[in-house]
Symmetry: C2
Subunit: 197 residues, 2 copies
């Protein structure tokens, strides 16, 4: 696939990114990450596009219909600082927010297996996830970039093809015209020749 030498480098690279075939050792990431996403381009986000996931807040259904950013932040639920817009700022906080009426106010690791916070195990998990997140986002950025470049390149190619078509069409018209002329002349000549016999 994509062996056509006329395909430009960007497209080639794009194909590589999505097909998992690496021609370019340039990709320095040991975390290559190029999988077989093939057509996809759309899979990453579209998969959860109309889908909702419910964050740790109460935030659940949102942007579907493009209204996410006017969800309920300022108007409905959270505004002051209670629970809508906080979250981190201290996840300790979040915990407090909810735990305030079901457990001790300040960090009570006695919640779930003592895996709460400052546990070395917790930090390890967090750090690993952070790495994964960075990696994933990096990948996404590259993907987007490639798609953009690919689009631009396709556009250019499109223009060239359009021009080529115009050229060919004109050539064709010319030939057709010549042919019709030739046809008439041929008839005339033949007529003359016959009459002269």
């Amino acid at each position: 696939m994509m062996s056509d030498s006329r395909v430009s480098s960007v497209i080639q690279e794009w194909a590589n990114t999505y097909t998992g075939h690496n021609l370019n050792p340039t990709n320095t990431n040991q975390a290559d990450s190029t999988n077989q996403l093939a057509q996809m381009d759309m899979i990453p986000y579209s998969h959860s596009q109309g889908l909702v996931r419910g964050d740790s807040d109460g935030r659940v259904a949102e942007q579907m219909m493009g209204l996410s950013y006017l969800s309920f932040p300022t108007s409905c639920l959270s505004n002051t600082s209670s629970m809508g817009g906080i979250h981190h700022q201290s996840h300790t906080n979040t915990q407090q927010e909810f735990s305030s009426f079901l457990s001790p106010p300040l960090r009570a690791p006695i919640n779930k297996r003592s895996i709460s916070k400052d546990s070395p195990e917790y930090r390890l998990r967090r750090e690993r996830n952070n790495v994964a997140v960075r990696k994933s986002r990096d990948k996404a950025r590259r993907r987007i970039l490639l798609t953009q470049q690919r689009a631009m390149q396709l556009q250019e190619e499109n223009q060239k093809l359009q021009m080529r078509i115009e050229q060919l069409t004109q050539e064709l018209d010319t030939l057709k015209h010549i042919l019709s002329q030739r046809h008439m002349h041929g008839a005339e000549e033949r007529a003359e020749g016959c009459s002269s016999i």
Copy 2:
């Protein structure tokens, strides 16, 4: 918006997203799509692509070269939980982290004009920014989606154009052949006619 019927919807929408202008109805083919937006597509992120911004941590130069996710999280600076990978989890924390040796341990809004935390003004700003962030990300998602669709569409168009070119080329060859035949016949006929006179 969305008035030109000759430009395919996706491309039209894409153009709107980037330029806010309708595509010129001058374009004859819906497949055309040849405009001058080209570069746009890259503006959003490219502008700060190779640029670094220095987060609140010490995190400064990173992903350039695609190594962001192996920056220094696990290896160098932060690992345990001290200061490298934290940040929020309690920005209160961050503050504590540093303030621990230059000011009271727990939140001391006496830092800068009392604009620190829990200030209603702070919350207002935060909430507004959160809205802006959601909006911006929503926009980005749509943009990406459009670019993807646009790329796919351009690809399809490309294929069609290629086929059209092949068709025209073949037609042209046929005509050329006919013309050459006709030419020879005409010569023969003319020769015959002349000889008969």
